[in-house]
């Protein structure tokens, strides 16, 4: 495999804030690369520097052999972009939008017409070609937004949170589209703060926080960072009206991270669990609890007892494979979304 995007020691500051702080990683040709991080981690800023919208303060990005600093036209030609915000003309129809963007990427004539048809097909909106984009649902806009970025069959597709705020059906459509594009040989950089999307989609992942890459590698490599201890995830009735751990990590359709203080009663429960022999660590992850132990079976009884002793209502308890949430927690002491 060859490296197609090389990010070298990239820095970008906005006044006092260092939004991207010496970021370095490489993306291999043909892979789906995930850029995972909470809100404000610096994902969009990094993507903007790759796509020549922001000039790096320090460092460089090499795309298909061209530096963004010296050969930005070549870089832009190699890239397709799906911006985080819908970047379409609302008063134009779906077909008109695609035609416009295709032309901006240098397509014309037959090639352009074919690309427009391909884009409409890909978005599953061929029957809505002559409908103004402003009348579309959020999911339909997102799909056209993606199509506009791939008309020219770029070598690398940069996708910035393409599934924010849409219905599950559109989301599945989009994830399937990404896989298809990748099967056709397109390298995809997929930015998200939904770890389950990144987990299922991406070959390799970089986790960013506060402008830094705190870990990168394949999912297995990242999981290995947390060690080989067992993970026990616990949902509490009172604190978590939604209930299960799945809800907490499942379809968080808001995508809004709330900076919540761990409530005192939760702290008391955690303190109790930490006293259970065999437990090496216990943290609050949003409304759920995450407990590490050398042997889950040996501590479960004690953990349940201590929760009951604290007067809390246990909703669910399960032993899980460590996921990216666990990795992020392990590395930062915070949850990804909470």
């Amino acid at each position: 495999m060859s490296v197609i995007v090389e990010i070298r020691d990239l820095v970008k500051c906005f006044g006092e804030l260092t939004a991207v702080d010496h970021v370095t990683f490489e993306i291999e040709r043909g892979e789906i690369f995930g850029l995972l991080g909470p809100n404000g981690a610096g994902k969009t800023t990094t993507i903007s520097m790759i796509s020549c919208l922001l000039a790096p303060d320090e460092g460089d990005v090499i795309v298909a052999g061209h530096s963004v600093r010296t050969h930005s036209i070549e870089v832009r030609r190699a890239l397709g972009i799906v911006p985080q915000e819908i970047a379409l003309y609302p008063t134009l129809t779906a077909a008109e939008n695609l035609k416009f963007w295709g032309r901006m990427y240098g397509l014309s004539g037959r090639e352009l017409d074919e690309a427009v048809d391909y884009g409409l097909e890909m978005a599953g909106l061929a029957d809505k070609a002559r409908v103004r984009v402003e009348t579309f649902s959020g999911g339909m806009k997102r799909r056209i937004n993606i199509a506009a970025g791939v008309l020219h069959r770029p070598q690398v597709l940069l996708m910035d949170e393409p599934t924010v705020g849409i219905d599950p059906q559109s989301r599945n459509h989009i994830l399937e589209t990404v896989r298809e594009l990748n099967r056709d040989g397109m390298t995809v950089v997929y930015t998200s703060h939904y770890m389950e999307e990144v987990e299922t989609l991406c070959d390799r992942i970089a986790i960013v926080d506060h402008g830094r890459v705190i870990a990168d590698g394949t999912l297995d490599e990242l999981r290995a960072l947390v060690g080989d201890e067992d993970h026990i995830r616990i949902s509490l009735g009172d604190a978590s009206p939604e209930g299960s751990a799945e809800a907490a990590e499942g379809d968080a359709d808001t995508g809004v991270a709330e900076e919540t203080e761990t409530p005192p009663e939760m702290l008391a429960i955690l303190e109790g669990i930490r006293q259970v022999p065999g437990v090496t660590r216990a943290d609050a992850v949003g409304s759920a609890l995450e407990v590490l132990a050398g042997d889950a079976a040996a501590v479960l009884g004690g953990v349940v007892e201590s929760i009951a002793a604290a007067g809390a209502h246990l909703r669910a308890i399960e032993v899980v494979e460590p996921d990216l949430e666990s990795v992020f927690l392990h590395l930062t002491g915070r949850g990804l979304r909470d």
Binding site: S48, C52, L53, A55, I81, A87, Y89
Partner: protein, 396 residues
């Protein structure tokens, strides 16, 4: 600019304003301007014999002229002090002082010096008076006649009303003193005031409103392309391999084309429906409009780059246009303001536009005469655009 409401405002508003301003101030043209003559040479005359002293001759020629009576309400005042008071309190626009040594100077062929006292608030009316006086006085001596103007420093009243009819009055005055059956023995030596076209309030405001609304239109158009989609579509556009110059140039071109369309509509409407006199040189008029459009586009680029949000830009834009229009003389002629403030008009795109259009309108100026204003507009366009682009880059 697919928005019909916006189009209606940009095309309809200027027409409405031209009508309102033109008719509200048009009345000022009919009433005579109040002026006075003070003969200070009386009793000092050394002229003897049957001949009237030249000062008497001048004063009575002025007072008795029927043609001047059409334009001015002229009265004779006994003292300079009274004249000054009246100029200052606005009851007269200007006063002519025939100085004490006038007759001696004429007799001995020395340069003749007349003094016009005037209210800075009615400069144009006073200016007409001054021109007429100069023309009158010229016959009395082979020597040069100079008119010294003394500004009285009080301003009140409604200067713009006097102003509005000013152009027409200049023309009438000139016609009066130059026509063959004019005053006996009066010859105009001073050719400065020749060749002016009579303009009315509607002519003045026709030009100024078009200048201002072109600015609104171009600003609006520029924002809708530069700013509205800035964070989204513009970013996407800038990430395509199309060269930036081409992208920005294309946007500017569409703004420019729309602006010229707006101008065409306004020009035709004002000229053929309202009879606004635009002057003879259509090409020069169009060139000035084009230069204005470029300058406004530059201004819009700058505003878009400094305003952090589209909303802010939308608020700043109209404010800037109105200030530009005000200091550029769109609402009332800047010439009514004191001399030291007058250069502010050169900070205004509207000011430069009005200067050039005004010259085409009243003096029959052509392309070669207005190139200075056009160059100034292009320079403004270049500088603002460069700063705007630079600021935009700096923000990235």
């Amino acid at each position: 600019m697919r928005d019909p409401a916006a189009m209606g405002v940009l095309l309809g508003m200027p027409v409405v304003l031209i009508l309102i301003l033109g008719s509200a101030l048009g009345g000022a043209m009919d009433s005579g301007i109040k002026v006075a003559v003070v003969d200070l040479s009386r009793g000092h005359s050394t002229a003897t014999g049957s001949a009237k002293p030249p000062s008497d001759e001048l004063v009575s020629a002025i007072l008795e002229s029927e043609r001047l009576a059409d334009l001015f309400e002229i009265e004779q005042l006994p003292t300079e002090r009274l004249a000054r008071e009246q100029v200052r309190d606005g009851s007269i626009a200007a006063a002519l002082l025939v100085p004490a040594g006038f007759d001696e100077d004429v007799a001995s062929g020395r340069p003749v010096n007349l003094v016009v006292l005037r209210d800075p608030g009615s400069e144009l009316s006073a200016g007409i008076w001054e021109s007429v006086v100069t023309a009158f006085a010229a016959q009395f001596s082979a020597a040069s006649v100079s008119v010294q103007t003394v500004m009285e420093t009080v301003q009140r009243g409604n200067p713009s009303a006097l102003m509005a009819g000013g152009g027409a009055l200049v023309a009438k005055a000139v016609e009066a003193v130059t026509s063959d059956d004019g005053l006996d023995g009066v010859k105009v030596v001073d050719a400065q005031v020749k060749g002016l076209t009579a303009v009315s309030a509607i002519d003045y405001y026709g030009l100024s409103m078009v200048a201002m609304f072109l600015m609104f239109g171009a600003m609006f158009g520029a924002f809708s392309t530069i700013k509205e989609n800035r964070e989204q579509t513009l970013n996407r556009m800038l990430s395509t391999p199309s060269p930036r110059a081409q992208i920005v140039g294309g946007k500017m071109l569409s703004v420019f084309v729309l602006g010229m369309m707006q101008f065409s509509v306004l020009y035709v409407a004002t000229r053929f429906v309202f009879g606004v006199q635009w002057g003879g040189d259509v090409l020069a008029t169009v060139v000035v409009a084009a230069a204005e459009m470029l300058a406004v586009t530059g201004l819009a680029t700058l505003i878009a780059s400094v305003a952090h949000t589209e909303r802010a830009a939308g608020g700043i834009g109209p404010l800037v246009v109105q200030i530009q229009a005000l200091i550029g003389g769109a609402f009332f002629s800047i010439s009514v303001l004191p001399d030291w403030v007058q250069p502010v008009r050169y900070l205004s795109v509207v000011g430069w536009t009005m200067e050039a259009w005004g010259a085409i309108q009243t003096r029959g100026a052509g392309l070669t005469d207005v190139w200075g204003s056009v160059a100034a507009l292009l320079a403004i366009a270049g500088v603002l655009f460069a700063v705007g682009v630079w600021r935009t880059e700096a923000l990235r």
